[in-house]
Every structure is written in C-alpha cells, then in structure tokens.
Amino acid sequence: MTTTIGIRYKDGIILAADRQVSSENFIASKYGEKIHQVDKNIGVTIAGLVADAVNLVERLKAEFKLYYYDKKRPISIEHAARLASNIFYGGFRGGRPLYTQILIGGFTIHNGDGNKTPKLYVIDPSGGTIEDKFIATGSGSQVAYGTLENNYREDLTEEDAVQLAYKAMKSAIERNPFTGNGIDAVIISRDGFRRLSDEELLKIGEVTN
C-alpha cells in the first residue's frame, strides 16, 4: 500500500517514496518515512508490513557496521544486496517470511574501487533479487512503471533522474488510492547520501508540471 521508486543514472541512484502509511482502507499516518540510510552510501526503501521492514532496516545497519569494523572498509552495494537477500531467504525457508519488499541501491566507494557503477536492486520476501535500471514497488507500481518506461534514458543526469522519479511518483499518487500525502526523495552518489528538502521537491514539482 505504497509506491517506491528507484532510478539508476550515470553517477548514482535516486530513491523516492510516498509518505502515506495505509492500514487496509484507513490512513494510519501521513508522514511515514519509507527511505532509510543503512550505510554511508546505501539507501533502502520499504513497502509492506512496517514492523518487518523497520526490523530489517535496523538489522542491516548493524550488519554493515560490523562489516566495516571487521574489514575497515564499507560494504559494497553488491554484497549489501546479497546479505539482505540471505536474510529474506532465511526467513522464507524457516517458515517465517518477512512481509516486506525493499529497494536497495547505492554506490560503492573504497580504495581501489573508485570507478564502480551505482547499482539498484529489488528484493522480495523470498529473497528473490533483481538488479535493474529503474524499479517501482508497491500498490502504485504499475502506474509508476508507465511513466518510467516512457521516459527513462541511459544518459539521464542527476537532475533528470530526480525529475523522472518525481513525475512517476506523481502519477502513482494521482491514480493509486493507497499512495499519497507527499513525496520523499534521496540522492545517493559519490558524495554520499542526501535527502532532498521539501523546498527542493517543491521546486522540482514546479519544473515537472
């Protein structure tokens, strides 16, 4: 009962999500935070059962810290996605699956890997992982995909990618009854993880419409 979007562009990843937390046909919150920073250069969006999702996010934060203290370098996005997938799979095979679906995206930076490309993954409750250029999840995903399919280009700049994410979120809010109450977005690039402010989003809204 959510829409989350991830877009990969040349230098990074955009993650976007709505703010509405629905409980069947009741709006439980209008200010839900669905994009989380789990490591210096890795972001996660959540959809599904809030308890499972938040628990998973906290687990990932802890795992990535332990990885860092052990190896003295941040985990790469590829390995982060694999670890998250293994957590999902463990729950699934153990008969207690996590009722959540995540997007995990980010940028790998550590010595010797300076030119790594950004990566974006979607992981489902069974641990199934798909890497892609753009991904939408949640109840509004089909609406969002319409916009994404028609407007995605390989050569998107950061600004283009943010605008596309905004546009696709807008469509989902307009046409999906369980998506709404505003948009959150983050940019993950070489410079790190950055949340867009309400003012920035407002400005993007004016350009896009």
Partner: protein, 224 residues
C-alpha cells in the same frame, strides 16, 4: 607465588586450599608478559597507546587498537588470539544493544557484559581469557576508561598501564598525571611514559579521541 599446598590445583579452576584460583593467576601472568599499553583520560578526551612489537621485521604490523563502535575503542595486553574473541563479542554486543534500545551502548554497559563473560569462565569452566582489555569511549559527554581483567573484575580508571614493565609505567603515570591536562599534554605523557621502557625502539599505535570535536586520530609511530 606457589607453595606445596597448592600442588595440583593449578590444573583446575577450583580453589586452592588457601583460597586462590590459580588458573586466573596464570592468566594474569600472560598479561604481564604482553605488549605494554597505556590509556589516559582527561577532561578533553582520551589517549591510548599500544606497543606494536613483532618477531621479525618481515612481519606486517597487527592491529592493537580496535574500533568497537563510532565512539568506542579497545586495546589489550596479553594473548592476541583471545583478544579477537572478546573484541568480536564487544562489537556484536553494541550493535544488539543499538537494535534493542535504539541508543548507543555506553562503555560501562559494554564492560559489564564482557566482565560477565570473563567471570563465567573462572566459575563454570574453560581457560580464562589471557588478556586484560581496556575500553575507551564517551558516555553522557564524559570520557570513560574501563578495564576488564581475566578474573572478570571490571573497574574504571583515570589512567592505566598494563603489560611488560607495567610497574615502571604505572609509577611514571602516577607521578605525572594531572586531571587538567590538555589533550596534547596527555599524548606527550603517554609517549614519554612509554619511551621510558621502550629500549628496543618498538613501534607503537596511538589513538587520540577528542571529546569536543568527536574527532578520532589514529597513527602508527616509529620512534626516533
């Protein structure tokens, strides 16, 4: 330290007839033969120094000061292999604490947990940890130094020296420590103290934790 009445009791973690747990005393001996370490706290922060002695100049240096969490560090004197177990336990514990309570684990809570593990070995079986661990961190905006011994004893200190030549090092610290030292003076005291016994010109690791800026500097120093 050993008398005839204790014969045989050094092979167990049972008491000897005069009320000692001799395996723990042997563990303490392993600590006394370990690399020298020094830890000092002042109002401005904490300085840790750990001797980095290697058997051959062909060996790469092993890490002696380990990061446990954003603002928590540990160093030890004693058996390197045992230290890995305790340090890993510490790292996992602070992460579990963060998930459970949503806040950073303070140094004292961590030290209590580790001391509990060390104590249980001396009572329920196994070989006591052959190391003394020093934990440095910031709790409620105050610098803290906690020490965990092989017996499971845990105590807080302003400054401490452990390992080879600990008596001489401790004496120098006691004579020169002042609570109002600047961080720079504290670092100098640590290095001067160690220089007193560092006749072999061994390398040492330094960690300087600044309370105001939360900045943590780490370096490996070659004397001379």
């Amino acid at each position: 330290m050993f008398n005839l009445g204790d014969a045989g009791y050094d092979r167990t973690i049972m008491y000897s007839p005069d009320g000692r747990v001799i395996q723990v005393e042997y563990a303490r001996e392993a600590v006394r033969r370990g690399n020298s370490i020094i830890a000092i706290k002042t109002k401005e922060g904490i300085v840790m120094l750990a001797e980095s002695r290697s058997h051959s100049k062909l060996f790469e240096p092993t890490e002696k000061i380990s990061q446990i969490d954003d603002n928590t560090y540990a160093t030890f004197s004693g058996l390197l292999a045992d230290s890995r177990v305790l340090i890993n336990e510490a790292r996992v514990f602070v992460q579990i604490h963060k998930i459970t309570y949503g806040e950073e684990c303070d140094v004292e809570t961590l030290a209590w947990h580790l001391s509990k593990i060390a104590q249980q070995i001396t009572q329920f079986g196994g070989r006591p940890f052959g190391l003394t661990l020093v934990l440095a961190g910031i709790s409620n905006s105050e610098p803290k130094l906690d020490v965990v011994e092989p017996s499971g004893a845990k105590f807080e200190v302003k400054a401490i020296a452990i390992g080879r030549n600990d008596d001489a090092l401790m004496k120098h610290l006691e004579d020169n420590y002042r609570e109002d030292m600047s961080l720079e003076e504290t670092r100098t005291l640590a290095e001067e103290t160690f220089a007193k016994v560092n006749t072999d010109q061994n390398n040492y690791e330094l960690m300087v934790m600044n309370l105001q800026t939360h900045n943590i500097e780490r370096m490996l120093i070659t004397p001379g």
